[in-house]
Subunit: 348 residues, 2 copies
């Protein structure tokens, strides 16, 4: 495809593939510095890899159970150089970034100004990115990457200004998962005082989803965690009416753990980034209930065929990372809940 | 895992994997003839491979663009022998089967009797299956496989009696996709006179979904097809208010084709079994609209990240193949619509 004379708000003009595909599906993006009129260029400060992506890279480059950070760093550099974006070729997922607005095209409608400190809320898997420092300050053992370089935002994109009163890392961490509480809130509002179970409840998206469920009127919230240490943390945080321990990959164990709290869930929110949780989530959900899959490790066919195979009348949602107002809503939950704040702080 | 002394309605007792997983996720199932008390054994007459699965097998075993039917048949036999079920290892999908009830366990609650002519409405990807005739009557060039052997239904399963007044092939063909019109109908009912676009509208699930949308009160139905020949067929069938031609993998073309009929869709139903349709479906859908993905070729991460990347406020549903009453509803649509019937007849 030749480069379009005029830009498209979806970023199509940056796609270098032969076929017409959107930037997220593209093999390779054009990373030129010059902006189309509706674009914005951001000076990168930190990249935050999606959890499923980082886990895959870490496992791939482990020797005898020990991750090789140098190899992980090399692969990230290779991916970005080859594709013009940080999209894990196995998981398909990206992550997000934090940085400072460097230039704003005259037709940009994102409301940003040069010098604004922002987090991008669209995935790195579709964001043109150039790394200029070889990631020399990163040891490859953590998903948060200090980096220097630049990234491009399209006309139809999302970036949020980082609050001055909170550490930037904390804001990034909240915004990274802010789609989960917003969608959970919306679904809770479609039921009358539902029972809400959150799988992976002590994690970032999990704890925010629990807080959202309670605020929007859940009659009971259940937090599912993989082991006692996380159960203790979650109990201390006080976010769930019941805390249970279960391996989310074991469908019968997950069903029984949720049922043991009084009933199956009307809404089950899956926030764990390991494969194989579809069946358990479906079994843990009552008839006419809803499962929201936020994990990038979710398999579409396992979910679709799993529900059919269990004759389960449940609605299954692909967790859309975007709901209007999602970043502000998540920041509000964090500010209002000491429990959420504590769980986030210990991850920084 | 050792075999459970008592059966579980989900079929867990037939899973031979080390880990506790549901039959759909299992690598291998126990295909013994003897029934647990709540099971049913069916003598197989026809297997119907899922479209995405058959396409994958056909493409894998093509030489110079010509599918090698013998190689396809050999692989199907190998899969069933190795796994104890027909689950395509690449697509994860299965299909369904038609047969005659051979034995009913004393505690089965499916309401079946020996001699009933039935179609199973749970996927082959979780159905214990033994093939006894080497598929010698099948040339490997069509997804419908004449076969002799047996299959096992679990306590929590779904099978529908095949109507006497319709050809068995036709019934199988309708039941194979009956989840799509049932879920479409439910979602249409959640909107007030929505615009409904069906992508892959001249196909089996597509034509039934169109008929369901119209019956449940869509204000306008749009059928999207890949080329003029299918457009002619769909126009003759009279199922859609507007028929447009677009490559569903080209997101901008799909969006523009739907928009050209008057507006974007409130509900977009994806019924094409090719990968890469997520972005177009999202772009073709209006704010606060819903995309229902019925294709097994759907990528979870492409859908989730695609919507986020486009800042698209759409609800995305994993097409659950089960909704109560789905088979009866689909048969009703077929009986009531000459257009649907004609489109099905020409595929037999």
């Amino acid at each position: 495809m030749s480069v379009l004379a005029t830009g498209d708000p979806t970023g199509l003009h940056r796609v270098l593939d032969q076929e017409v595909v959107l930037p997220q599906a593209a093999r390779r993006l054009d990373t030129r510095r010059e902006l189309w009129p509706d674009e914005v260029r951001v000076r990168v400060e930190t990249l935050n890899l999606d959890a499923a992506s980082f886990r895959q890279l870490e496992e791939k480059h482990s020797v005898g159970g020990r991750p090789d950070g140098d190899a992980v760093r090399r692969e990230v550099l290779e991916i970005v150089a080859a594709r013009g974006k940080m999209q894990n070729p196995v998981t398909g997922s990206g992550g997000m970034l934090i940085g400072t607005v460097e230039e704003v095209g005259p037709e940009s409608g994102l409301g940003l100004r040069v010098g604004d400190h922002v987090a991008t809320l669209v995935s790195l898997s579709l964001t043109p990115l150039v790394i200029e420092d070889g990631l020399e300050r990163w040891d490859g053992t953590h998903e948060r990457i200090p980096a220097d370089g630049y990234a491009i935002l399209f006309g139809r994109s999302i970036a949020a200004k980082i609050p001055d009163d909170l550490p930037a890392d904390l804001s990034l961490s909240v915004m990274d998962v802010c789609g989960a509480p917003a969608l959970t809130a919306r679904v809770v509002g479609q039921y009358d005082a539902p029972v809400v179970a959150v799988v992976g409840a002590a994690g970032k998206s999990g704890s925010l989803s629990l807080a959202a469920a309670r605020r929007e009127g859940a009659s009971r919230t259940v937090g599912v965690v993989p082991h006692e240490a996380e159960a203790d943390l979650l109990r201390e945080a006080g976010l769930a009416d019941a805390v249970v321990v279960a391996d989310a990959r074991d469908p019968v164990a997950l069903r029984d753990a949720v049922a043991s709290t009084g009933s199956l869930a009307d809404i089950t929110v899956v926030c764990v980034d390991v494969p194989g949780c579809e069946g358990g989530a479906i079994l843990a959900t009552a008839d006419r209930g809803t499962v929201i899959f936020f994990s990038m490790a979710t398999s579409f066919s396992a979910a679709a065929l799993g529900a059919e195979g269990l004759a389960a009348d449940v609605t299954m949602l692909v967790g859309n990372g975007y709901t209007p107002g999602h970043a502000a809503y998540a920041m509000e939950l964090l500010r209002d809940s000491d429990g959420v704040r504590r769980l986030f702080d210990r991850r920084l």
